[in-house]
């Protein structure tokens, strides 16, 4: 089979070379990591741990199986530039199909696979808007879903392909030209399925990010990444799939569902495989502290960086984690912070390895009233701010006011980012792209300040709620709740409640209804929960059904999320004070 000319290993490194750190070569496109001649087929890419079994995936396996998928996609009419949505369970087929779609010149994108608790009708029909926007291309899933797809999405514009058939295809395909500026894949944001935006990322942007991030992390040939993160999330996709692939850093991968039930699996994998790097959302640090039994025999001494990313990081979380696992070898200087987003491929800033992240004690009054970060006097109320580190080489970060004009250091404003690993745009959403991306600057909607070259993220400009590392917009959830029959249209709020013990936000839905009978209210509450689970993949903390007029409005006549959450919490405290003497 001929090697694709455009992917020849003869291409020179274009960005700062990952090889500088001894971790590997810097290729011209992502695929060169797969088809380049520099790699031995026997080199281990991943140890895949699932259901108590370990499967070793070597680069030779990746090449062969990705080619089978490329053949299968081409034989089924997938054309270069078309999108291939991949909806599969956590399995090695995720790697193979993703890379196979790229080899065929198509644009792959992972989507979360439905759980057994999600209503299939609601799950599939919620994709209608997203599939219509993509327009043409393919959807890869299992044969068992074909009937549900035909039933619930009769006008589906995509070809539906079954992954079982790909495994029987020959490992041959017709090479397609792939240039560095081509879109490599889409990352779909989390939240309401139909409204997900496809963040389009070029090969060049991904390689630039990986080279820059590898240098920042001082990645070396002795590193080993351990992860339980799902691949449809940017942290799993970039830090734990593409970064290992491109830099030849072995990765040990667990199943997210298994990890949540048995968090010690992560520590077992670190001990067994001598893991050195691990990315976790803030809640995961708490989950590990709460659930790993004191009797567990741990050895975490091989770790050099635990990187807290994807939801607001807290200094208290780090203190808790160090106190709990110091005996196993966890040190404060190993706990790091990363500020990341799909629109920059992944990392924007990273705290320097081997020193604890900087924490500032700020004057809380000045911070709130003047939106400025001043150091606190001894007597003044204090507010702490945890650094997310310095921008990666090649990225610029600035803070802007409401007119998008730059603000000086220590002033809080919107975080804007420019540089050579920005996304190409939101797929087929030009207006949304123009709204966020102007003059080469991406406006994040996050709030923060810069001080001594380090970025501190302090909040959000919009109504984003981050639950266990996944992003949800309150107005999108409210839109879904309003569609449930029985809820007064326009009379509901979705609110984020930060719970310190889990280190993350939970979502509480408060909706007004005329339903009075307990059975009717129970059914309505279930319908709201099922809709949010199926259409947004979200389990809410509670659906509180209230009578008409319960919800509080602001002076401008809008429903207040903050005030209604406070009102709900007061009612909840009262309810919890009652004695629990039921069967």
């Amino acid at each position: 089979m001929p090697e694709p000319k455009e992917l020849s290993a003869a291409t020179a490194p274009r960005a700062a070379s990952v090889a500088d750190s001894g971790a590997g070569i810097s290729p011209e496109t992502i695929l060169t990591a797969l088809v380049g001649s520099a790699l031995a087929d026997q080199e281990v890419f991943c140890e895949f741990l699932q259901a108590g079994k370990q499967t070793t995936i070597r680069y030779g396996d990746l090449r062969r199986e990705a080619r089978r998928y490329a053949h299968y996609f081409q034989r089924n009419g997938v054309r270069p530039g078309e999108v291939v949505l991949i909806i599969l369970r956590h399995s090695p087929d995720l790697f193979y199909s993703f890379l196979g779609a790229m080899l065929a010149g198509a644009i792959p994108s992972f989507m979360p696979y439905p759980t057994s608790k999600q209503d299939p009708r609601l799950y599939w029909s919620s994709h209608q808007q997203l599939f219509a926007r993509i327009g043409s291309g393919a959807l890869l899933t299992y044969t068992e879903n074909l009937t549900a797809l035909r039933t619930h999405l009769p006008d589906l514009p995509l070809r539906v392909l079954a992954s079982e058939a790909a495994a029987r295809s020959p490992a041959e395909f017709t090479a397609q030209p792939v240039a560095p500026g081509d879109i490599a894949f889409l990352q779909h944001s989390s939240g309401t399925t139909g409204l997900k935006k496809g963040v389009a990322l070029s090969h060049a942007a991904v390689l630039t990010q990986v080279a820059s991030y590898a240098r920042t992390l001082q990645l070396s040939g002795s590193d080993r990444i351990v992860s339980w993160l799902p691949l449809y999330h940017d942290m799993g996709l970039i830090a734990c799939f593409l970064l290992p692939l491109i830099t030849h850093t072995p990765v040990v991968m667990l199943d997210a569902f298994e990890w949540v039930v048995n968090p010690t699996l992560l520590f077992d994998a670190i001990k067994l495989h001598r893991g050195s790097l691990c990315w976790l959302p803030n809640f995961a640090f708490h989950h590990l502290c709460r659930t790993v039994r004191p009797t567990a025999r741990l050895d975490l001494s091989s770790m050099r960086a635990w990187i807290n990313c994807s939801e607001p990081c807290r200094a208290e979380t780090f203190r808790l984690f160090v106190n709990r696992f110091a005996g196993a070898g966890v040190k404060l200087q190993h706990l790091q912070v990363c500020y990341a987003m799909a629109e920059t491929v992944f990392a924007v800033t990273q705290t320097p390895p081997a020193r604890p992240p900087r924490t500032l004690a700020l004057n809380a009054d000045v911070f709130r009233s003047q939106r400025r970060a001043d150091f606190a006097d001894d007597d003044a109320p204090q507010q702490s701010a945890l650094s997310t580190g310095v921008p990666l080489p090649g990225l610029q970060v600035r803070i802007v006011d409401e007119h998008r004009q730059p603000l000086p250091d220590s002033h809080v404003g919107e975080i804007a980012i420019a540089g050579d690993c920005l996304f190409s745009g939101y797929f087929r959403l030009p207006e949304e792209t123009d709204r966020k991306l102007s003059d080469g600057w991406y406006h994040t909607g996050d709030l923060g300040f810069l001080r001594d070259g380090e970025l501190y993220v302090t909040g959000r400009k919009n109504d984003l709620i981050i639950v266990h590392g996944r992003n949800y917009y309150a107005h999108e959830l409210e839109y879904l709740v309003n569609q449930v029959p029985g809820v007064h249209p326009g009379r509901c709020v979705a609110t984020g409640w930060f719970k310190p013990e889990i280190g993350s936000e939970e979502i509480v839905i408060i909706a007004e209804t005329d339903a009075v009978a307990e059975i009717d209210r129970l059914q309505l509450g279930q319908a709201v929960k099922e809709s949010l689970l199926a259409r947004a993949g979200l389990t809410v903390f509670d659906v509180h059904l209230a009578s008409a007029g319960w919800l509080v409005k602001t002076t401008s006549g809008k429903l207040s999320r903050v005030e209604n959450l406070n009102k709900y919490l007061a009612a909840l405290a009262e309810a919890q004070a009652q004695p629990a003497a039921l069967p």
């Binding site: 569902f257 039930v261 048995n262 709460r290 279930q526 903390f541 009652q578 039921l582 069967p583």
Partner: protein
């Protein structure tokens, strides 16, 4: 301990772990029916059940459970031995 007692004790552990207040837990109850019972608190519930009943819940079985009734049946099976 018969199934009714197991159910009663399981319900108590669930309520105490997720702090959902005085709600009834029946065999038909699903996680979704109980305020605050999500995937994270589920793990805490399993740990409390293991400690309370002196058993070890196998992960592959736990991942397939749908209702409290199925959970109680699994506990009964493990206790029987």
């Amino acid at each position: 301990m018969n199934r009714d007692h197991l159910l009663s004790e399981t319900g108590r552990i669930i309520r105490e772990t997720v702090q959902c207040g005085p709600v009834a837990i029946t065999r038909a109850t699903r996680a979704m029916d109980v305020r605050g019972w999500d995937s994270l608190s589920h793990t805490m519930i399993l740990m409390q059940l293991e400690d309370g009943f002196g058993i070890q819940l196998p992960m592959e079985r736990v991942l397939t459970l749908g209702t409290v009734g199925e959970l109680v049946d699994l506990i009964a099976e493990l206790k029987a031995g």
